[in-house]
């Protein structure tokens, strides 16, 4: 099956710093999503971004599908950004993937005040 690798595995920041999280995947995908799992375990969908660039406030994401990677940018980080960030992808088979996601191992982000 597809391999999804996220880096770095851990990241510690001071409030106000910027960061870039990376997701590499080993096969062509038709679905790529970024999630934030907060300290209470809730998974929040940040972006659906199989290709191109999107921005939402202090967060933005870019996926270069032809080179099989995606980047998540967090600017002016806040303590509430702490948690685990997951990249998840779906591989098309027979023209569709039914949205079945394969997750990476995640990046644990800690933002100190």
């Amino acid at each position: 099956g597809i391999q999804v690798e996220q880096s770095p595995p851990d990241l510690i920041l001071q409030e106000g710093a910027n960061s870039t999280l990376r997701c590499n995947f080993s096969d062509s995908v038709n679905n790529l999503q970024w999630f934030h799992q907060n300290p209470w375990g809730q998974l929040i969908n940040l972006f659906y971004i199989p290709s191109g660039t999107k921005q939402n406030g202090r967060l933005s994401a870019t996926t270069v599908a032809t080179e099989r990677y995606s980047l998540l940018y967090i600017s002016s980080s806040q303590t509430t950004d702490s948690g685990v960030y997951f990249c998840a992808v779906a591989v098309p088979r027979g023209g569709t993937s039914y949205g079945k996601l394969t997750f990476g191992q995640g990046t644990i982000l800690t933002v100190h005040p």
Partner: protein
């Protein structure tokens, strides 16, 4: 609009017991999924459904069963619980565009411990 609702939030089972994890969504999504998350790991797909009456296995289906009698409900059944099924279980749904499952929305999770 409640989104995806899972019950219970926590449960302790003894080895060999059975239980059903409930999942309901009110967004009229066709696609629904069950994932499990083991400590320090990403999520793995257990079962999925593309509509009422249609279900299929994911990556780790052994020891589980599902049914989908309505668009809204997608319960997960654990038969003969084993310690290896200790995990956090997430239900999710996604809408479709041109047959592709797109953005997924997750429930709050069920933390299950088998002792």
């Amino acid at each position: 609009n409640a989104g995806v609702t899972q019950t219970p939030k926590f449960r302790i089972l003894k080895i060999g017991q059975s239980m059903t994890l409930q999942c309901t969504q009110d967004m009229n999504h066709n696609y629904m999924y069950w994932y499990r998350q083991d400590p320090g790991m990403g999520l793995k797909l257990i079962y999925y459904s593309v509509g009422a009456g249609i279900t299929d296995k994911g990556e780790v289906p052994n020891g589980y069963n599902v049914s989908r009698s309505t668009t809204e409900d997608f319960p997960l059944r654990l038969e003969l619980a084993a310690p290896s099924q200790t995990s956090v279980y997430f239900c999710a749904s996604s809408y479709t565009a041109r047959g592709l499952g797109v953005r997924a929305f997750f429930g709050q999770g069920t933390r299950l411990t088998v002792v």
